[in-house]
């Protein structure tokens, strides 16, 4: 600061502005690079891993309570060698994707008609609202009775879980499309399907995608619920089976896998969302 005191006020101001500008540019650059973002977001996971390693090295918990990271890793390798882990992951991912696809498609369809036409809102609205109020696990006994312990019962449960976030966000978003924009569209001769694809649909794309992300998270939740209760394969089954055998290492492995897959599928939809928001919002 003292070095600039002999400058004219204007030059001082310029120098100050340049310094401030430079500083904010540098700050912005770090968080806007991929490397910088990755670095910041990996601090916490690494810290957790270190703390976990430390507590098991110090023997704070018994192996039955908290096995070391290495033991969990080895449990994973062991399951892979037995040819179990791949199929378990495969069947779980398959259930989630099929259930999500069915539930989300139905949600899109019913959300669209309920959001666009009041008559369908009156027709479906309160019934769907009541069905939505049923806690997810309450469906399990009924689904088991009706559909037995096959794939259908699990996929149906996941579809129920994926349906409601999509249905509610789509219906609400369509109901709240800017009336002035719709009117402008109508004033320039759009109606029916054309009005929908030109005005209403683009206007709700961002909320539809956030509904889809919610639905995907919900699908993983319902997957575990379904597999915990009635299954002989999958990550949920791995959880339950390992609990019964006292294999804490496998329980933790399953939890980590669920976190990784849940986060990965969500990140993929997140990329799609970013693109769509840039395109439509």
């Amino acid at each position: 600061m003292s070095a600039t005191t002999d400058l004219t006020p204007r030059a001082q101001a310029r120098g100050k502005a340049a310094r401030q500008g430079g500083g904010s540019v540098r700050r912005a650059r770090f968080t806007s690079t991929r490397g910088g973002q990755f670095l910041i977001s990996s601090i916490l996971p690494i810290a957790i891993l270190l703390a976990w390693q430390l507590t098991s090295s110090l023997g704070i918990f018994t192996v039955g309570q908290l096995p070391s990271p290495e033991m969990v890793w080895l449990a994973g390798v062991d399951l892979v060698q037995r040819g179990l882990l791949g199929p378990f992951i495969g069947i779980s991912v398959q259930r989630v994707l099929i259930g999500f696809a069915i539930g989300a498609s139905l949600g899109l369809f019913f959300g669209a008609i309920v959001g666009l036409a009041r008559v369908w809102d009156f027709f479906f609205g309160s019934t769907f609202g009541a069905i939505r109020a049923v806690p997810s696990l309450a469906w399990v006994p009924l689904l088991l009775l009706w559909l037995k312990i096959g794939e259908e019962s699990k996929i149906t449960l996941i579809a129920i879980g994926a349906f409601f976030p999509v249905y509610t966000t789509v219906a609400a978003a369509l109901r709240h499309v800017d009336k002035q924009l719709v009117e402008a569209g109508r004033a320039f001769g759009l109606s029916g399907v054309q009005l929908f694809t030109t005005v209403q649909l683009p206007a709700v794309v961002p909320s539809v995608i956030s509904g889809l992300r919610l639905a995907l998270a919900q699908s993983w939740l319902f997957l575990v619920a379904a597999e915990l209760i009635a299954s002989s394969a999958g990550l949920g089954f791995l959880l339950l089976d390992s609990q019964n055998n006292g294999r804490t290492d496998r329980v933790i492995l399953a939890i980590i896998l669920l976190a990784v897959f849940g986060k990965t599928t969500d990140a993929l939809l997140g990329l799609f969302e970013k693109w769509a928001v840039r395109r439509w919002a």
Partner: protein, 281 residues
Amino acid sequence: MASSTTMPYAVTNTAFEVRFDGVGRSFTATNTRRGESAEPRIVLRDINITVKPGELVAILGTSGCGKSTLLRITAGLDTGFTGNVTIDGTPVEGIDSRSAFAFQEPRLFPWRSVTQNVALGLPHGIDKAEGEARVAELLELVGLSASAHHRPREISGGMAQRASLARALARNPGVLLLDEPFGALDALTRLKMQDLLLDIHAAAPTTVLLVTHDVDEALQLADRVILLGRMPGEPGATISELVTVPGGRPRDRGSAELAELRAHLLEGLGVDRHTTSTFSI
């Protein structure tokens, strides 16, 4: 930018007569409690005027007196009115493709570029290349060529308003409905856009209903000026003044005749006149 009076496309349009016959509009309050009778509130009543083909009529009135409502009725966007509105002899019974509307708000679609927004105003069935040329021409005329590929959120409020004007002009309509189209513009841009409107009107003599808050603007642009106002002891606004503006355009802003009309109209709007001379045409 608005100096040229040769519009390459403008020679083909037809101007229509617009006739208002005892037009009135009342709104019923929607949030009255059960049991209370909802008293309809009269906004407009007994509007009678015939706007000649190619005539430019300015509509003045205090805020909330029903100017936008009158334009919406003319466009067929508001069908809850009483009385008759005819364009070219046929009644307006719904959205009317013979008229084009530039709304009080720009109402641009956020997910479309400026060009795509303006293109929405093109008449249906227009040849693609011809349409593109017309949009480019209009963007040039309203001074938005440099922002043609920007999104509405990337342009200023005044630029958005000009885009909205271009969208209405793109239709090359028989009746042009302009709801305070220059409200958000700075003084210089406003003058340029007024000239543009006059140029377009001279080249393609469409019928124009122009709502404005600006008495000078009305006197500069219009053949006739309507003052919407409330008569003592009567509910709702009607045509309280109808003046024919003397002289061809462009008009001398300093003329005593216009100054007198201006003072008179301002008085009608509730603004005290500062001169003591009496009114006469």
